[in-house]
């Protein structure tokens, strides 16, 4: 029923003055901008990144400065988020912790995205035995629950920023490989790929000009969603004592430290927890918004 309406919209008739031409990018940006939630999410993420980069300059206190005289202070004008059990300013620690979370999750997602694009493309292009082997290996990795796998790898590698990033990155390769492979398989059968082959366009050029640009949109969406998931996973690991260890502030280990004081002093749990939740929410909303903007066919 709606098919009647939607398909015909794109038709431009001879006698209708053409609207001002928009580039593909403008068109997509425009579609994205209409999604209020996604725009707010994007603003929040920009703010988060800004805080993370300039944490040292804009944070009101030194994140590590202890002030035992003023420990466990509830939020006040001096300490908007209060102070923790060592008298450290929670707001400053959250800003600093955000840097760690974003850094680790960016590294982890880059690792998995690069690896997955390579492996997934190989599986998708070559097919046959190579594809089969890769798929069986991903089967193995995907049968281990994600968090559990991350914990095992993290335990083996040890704690620390880079090690946590590697652990989390390695763990999310397999599902990403699957996604990239399937989007490439879908593309491979498209007629426009066949058309290019008929012109004698070389395989390398087809990959560069058609396949990669067309897989980029779903990949960007995936990356955005994964960034949120990874932030959640880092904090989970750190909460359990793996991942990032105190005294380095990280949202998860901050919550972990605060749970001792749960009944009497809630800011130590609430503010880091809220930070995790809001960043996860923002990345998810951004991902959804990007999906709708980049690929309207996927819109629900």
């Amino acid at each position: 029923m709606t098919q009647v309406s939607t398909r015909k919209i794109s038709v431009q008739s001879e006698f209708v003055p053409q609207k001002k031409r928009q580039s593909q990018f403008q068109l997509k940006a425009h579609r994205f901008a209409r999604n209020k939630a996604a725009v707010i999410a994007l603003c929040f993420i920009v703010l988060l990144v800004f805080c993370a980069i300039f944490a040292d300059y804009i944070s009101p206190y030194d994140y590590a400065a202890q002030d035992l005289a003023n420990k466990l202070q509830f939020p006040s004008w001096r300490h908007p988020f209060g102070t923790d059990n060592f008298g450290r300013d929670i707001l400053s620690r959250i800003m600093r912790g955000g840097r760690i979370s974003l850094l680790v999750s960016a590294c982890a997602v880059s690792i998995s995205a690069v690896a997955a694009v390579i492996i997934g493309s190989i599986a998708g292009f070559y097919g046959g035995t190579v594809d089969n082997v890769i798929m069986r290996v991903t089967d193995i990795f995907m049968s281990i629950p994600g968090m559990l796998f991350a914990m095992t790898v993290s335990a083996a590698l040890g704690t620390g920023i880079m090690k946590t990033a590697i652990a989390l990155g390695v763990c999310s390769i397999a599902p990403l490989v699957r996604q990239i492979r399937s989007s490439i398989l879908l593309l491979k059968d498209q007629e426009f790929i066949e058309a290019s082959k008929a012109f004698g366009v070389s395989n390398a050029k087809i990959i560069m000009k058609h396949i990669i640009p067309n897989t980029l949109a779903p990949l960007i969406v995936q990356i955005s969603l994964r960034l949120g998931d990874t932030i959640m996973a880092i904090s989970g690991l750190s909460f359990l004592g793996l991942g990032i260890q105190p005294p380095t502030p990280e949202w998860g280990n901050m919550v972990s430290a605060g749970k001792e004081y749960l009944t009497t002093f809630w800011p130590m749990v609430l503010f880091p927890g809220l930070s995790i939740m809001l960043s996860m929410l923002s990345f998810n909303l951004l991902g959804d918004g990007l999906r709708d903007a980049l690929d309207p066919r996927m819109k629900r």
Partner: protein, 327 residues
């Protein structure tokens, strides 16, 4: 059908072998020797070496992994814990029921809440109910489970005293963990049900059903929901995996002796052989659930069923379409 199940069960074996190899390899190349951790920081090098010998950790990689497999096949054991000296399998067996109880209840709960909510949201698309439930689903999906656990503990156990803070002494003590584990799956189930229903409701056969003059109830239940079941079943199957993962944090916080708790403690104590056993069991549960969901697909979709029963003829229809002749 039976042959298909058997085939799938056999196919689980290489996957599980692969899991063992992966986990074993990760642990083998770990930076910290378990022996050093077990012996404590005061131990001398000789003591550590002796401990390593005792645990068989001084042997080459292939011998170690070979022994591990040999023990599984011939004795059916997963080795003895480095620390407690008790068989890993026994330790898992005594703890698994708690995890399964929580996981199962959480999955059932999430299906019971998520599916009706999703259907309602889809049928009343763009209503305030739809917006509210979608918003809630996105929101709950973003709450870190450990924060949720702490919140529930604080509110219902410490302040209101409705439920015990931790442990598994009474049935009440299961409530909070189940709720904590279920929340994320509820959100996921709801979103998936909604989108699957919306997808199905747009299909031509739903229009046919309406054109037949069937009441809306029949259209939704018999025609739309039946066709939207596949993704819903998938998400329910996935929920099991999520609750396994979730159990690690939830069991640690609520102090429940379950698989997750064992896993976490074994990792922190470098009791790798126990970790390995736990991962293997978890992977077994995951693959088994995948098989189960695949079999449930066959119940709801005759096309999938025909692929299983006929086995070889599976690809016929799809190949015919894909076969190259687009005409």
């Amino acid at each position: 059908m039976l042959r298909y199940i058997l085939k799938r069960l056999l196919m689980m074996i290489p996957v599980l072998v692969g899991v063992v190899v992966v986990v074993f390899t990760i642990n083998y190349f770990t930076s910290i020797s378990p022996a050093a951790v077990i012996c404590g920081s005061m131990a001398t090098d000789e003591q550590i070496a002796a401990k390593e010998q005792e645990l068989g950790l001084d042997k080459p990689y292939l011998v170690q992994i070979g022994t591990y497999f040999f023990n599984i096949i011939t004795k059916g054991t997963l080795g003895d814990s480095y620390i407690y000296k008790t068989p890993v399998l026994d330790m898992i067996a005594s703890r698994l029921p708690n995890t399964i109880r929580i996981g199962l209840c959480a999955s059932v709960l999430s299906a019971m809440i998520g599916i009706p909510l999703g259907i309602l949201a889809a049928v009343k698309q763009n209503s305030s109910l739809d917006y509210a439930s979608t918003f809630l689903a996105i929101l709950t999906g973003a709450i870190p489970s450990f924060c949720l656990c702490l919140l529930l503990q604080l509110l219902f156990a410490m302040k209101l005293h409705w439920f015990p803070i931790s442990g598994v002494k009474t049935w009440q003590s299961y409530i909070l963990p189940i709720v904590s584990v279920a929340l994320m799956p509820v959100a996921m189930t709801m979103r998936m049900t909604r989108s699957a229903m919306l997808e199905a409701i747009r299909q031509d056969y739903v229009r046919t059903a309406r054109a037949k003059g069937l009441p809306e109830k029949t259209v939704i239940w018999n025609h739309t929901l039946k066709n939207a079941l596949i993704p819903i079943i998938t998400v329910i199957g996935m929920n099991i995996g999520i609750s396994l993962t979730g159990s690690i944090i939830v069991e640690t916080i609520f102090n429940i002796p379950g698989l997750g708790f064992l896993m976490n403690s074994s990792i922190s104590q470098k009791d790798f052989i126990t970790t390995q056993g736990c991962v293997l069991v978890a992977a077994f549960i995951m693959t088994f659930m995948t098989l189960l969901t695949d079999l449930v697909y066959a119940v709801v979709d005759p096309r999938i069923k025909s692929q299983y029963t006929k086995g070889k003829k599976a690809g016929k229809k799809s190949k015919l379409i894909k076969g190259g002749d687009a005409a």
